[in-house]
C-alpha cells in the first residue's frame, strides 16, 4: 500500500516539494523580527510608556550598499542642566540582531545630535528610542529600502 503511494508522486511534485524544502532552508539564516525588536526595546525602557516624537532619524530613503549607511539622530531638547537627553538607543527590525548602537549623552553635549554609519541587512524600519533626564522615553523611526544587503553574504 505504502509503496503504491510513493509511486504516485510525480517527478513534478517531487521537484516542487524539494524546491520548497530548499527555499525553507535558505530562508533560515538568523534574521531578527519586529517581535525581537520590540523585546529589545522593552529591555531598555522597562514598563515605561514610549511617546512618539521629539526624535528625528535621518537615513537615505534608498540605500545602494547596506554595509555603510549614514545615520543621523537628532533629539528635540534644550540640553540644559535641568532638561537633557540621557541616552539614545538605535534598533532595527531585520538584521540578525535588533540592537544597532546606544549613545549616552549629558548636559555637556550642548546639542542632542549623533551621526554614525550602520549596516542594514534588508529593507526595513530603523527605530531610535531616546531617554530624557526626566525619565520619559520618546521614539522616532525611518524606513529604508536596501538594494545590496550587509551582514549575510559569505566570504
Amino acid at each position: 500500500m505504502d509503496d503504491c503511494k510513493h509511486k504516485r508522486i510525480s517527478r513534478r511534485e517531487f521537484l516542487l516539494a524539494a524546491g520548497g524544502l530548499a527555499a525553507g532552508i535558505a530562508l533560515e539564516p538568523a534574521v531578527a523580527t519586529e517581535v525581537e525588536m520590540t523585546d529589545a526595546i522593552r529591555k531598555v525602557v522597562g514598563m515605561a510608556r514610549v511617546h512618539k516624537g521629539k526624535v528625528t532619524l535621518e537615513l537615505p530613503p534608498l540605500v545602494d550598499n547596506g554595509n555603510a549607511v549614514p545615520l543621523v539622530v537628532r533629539v528635540d531638547s534644550p540640553m540644559t542642566q535641568a532638561e537633557y537627553v540621557k541616552a539614545i538607543h538605535v534598533f532595527n527590525e531585520k538584521n540578525p540582531q535588533p540592537n544597532v548602537a546606544s549613545f549616552y549623552l549629558g548636559p555637556r553635549a550642548g546639542r542632542a545630535s549623533v551621526a554614525t554609519r550602520i549596516r542594514l541587512a534588508d529593507t526595513q524600519t530603523v527605530v531610535a528610542i531616546c531617554e530624557m533626564s526626566d525619565g520619559s522615553f520618546w521614539s522616532g523611526s525611518a524606513s529604508v529600502v536596501v538594494t545590496l544587503a550587509a551582514c549575510l553574504e559569505a566570504l
Partner: protein
C-alpha cells in the same frame, strides 16, 4: 595597531558647542558570516567608545555588530576650558586604542 582618526577644533570660545568626529580602523566582523566551507567567522567588533574632557566623561557609546566597519561617530560637546579631549575604543579580543587632542579655550 589600529589607526584612529579624530577631528577636534584646536581653539574654541568658552561655552561654544564644538563638533567632534572620531573614527577607528577596525573590520567589525559581525559573527554572522560564514566562510565558503561553512565555518562561522567569530565575532570581532569594537564594543565601546568613551570620550572624556579633562578626565570627565562627556560621551559614551556601545556598539553592536550592526555598526559599519571602521566605526565613525560624530557628536558635540561644550568647550568649557583648555585641556585635553581623550578618546578610547574597547573591543573583542583585547582590542584597545586611545587617542587624545589638545584644545585651547579662550
Amino acid at each position: 595597531m589600529a589607526r584612529a582618526l579624530i577631528n577636534v577644533p584646536t581653539t574654541a570660545r568658552r561655552g561654544e558647542i564644538i563638533e567632534i568626529k572620531a573614527l577607528v580602523s577596525h573590520e567589525m566582523e559581525t559573527g554572522f558570516r560564514h566562510t565558503q566551507l561553512g565555518v562561522l567567522i567569530p565575532r570581532d567588533i569594537v564594543t565601546q567608545f568613551v570620550c572624556t574632557y579633562n578626565g570627565a566623561e562627556v560621551f559614551r557609546a556601545e556598539f553592536y555588530p550592526a555598526m559599519a566597519a571602521n566605526p565613525f561617530i560624530a557628536f558635540s560637546t561644550i568647550a568649557t576650558k583648555s585641556g585635553t579631549i581623550a578618546f578610547e575604543w574597547i573591543g573583542d579580543n583585547g582590542f584597545s586604542v586611545t587617542e587624545s587632542a589638545a584644545i585651547s579655550v579662550a
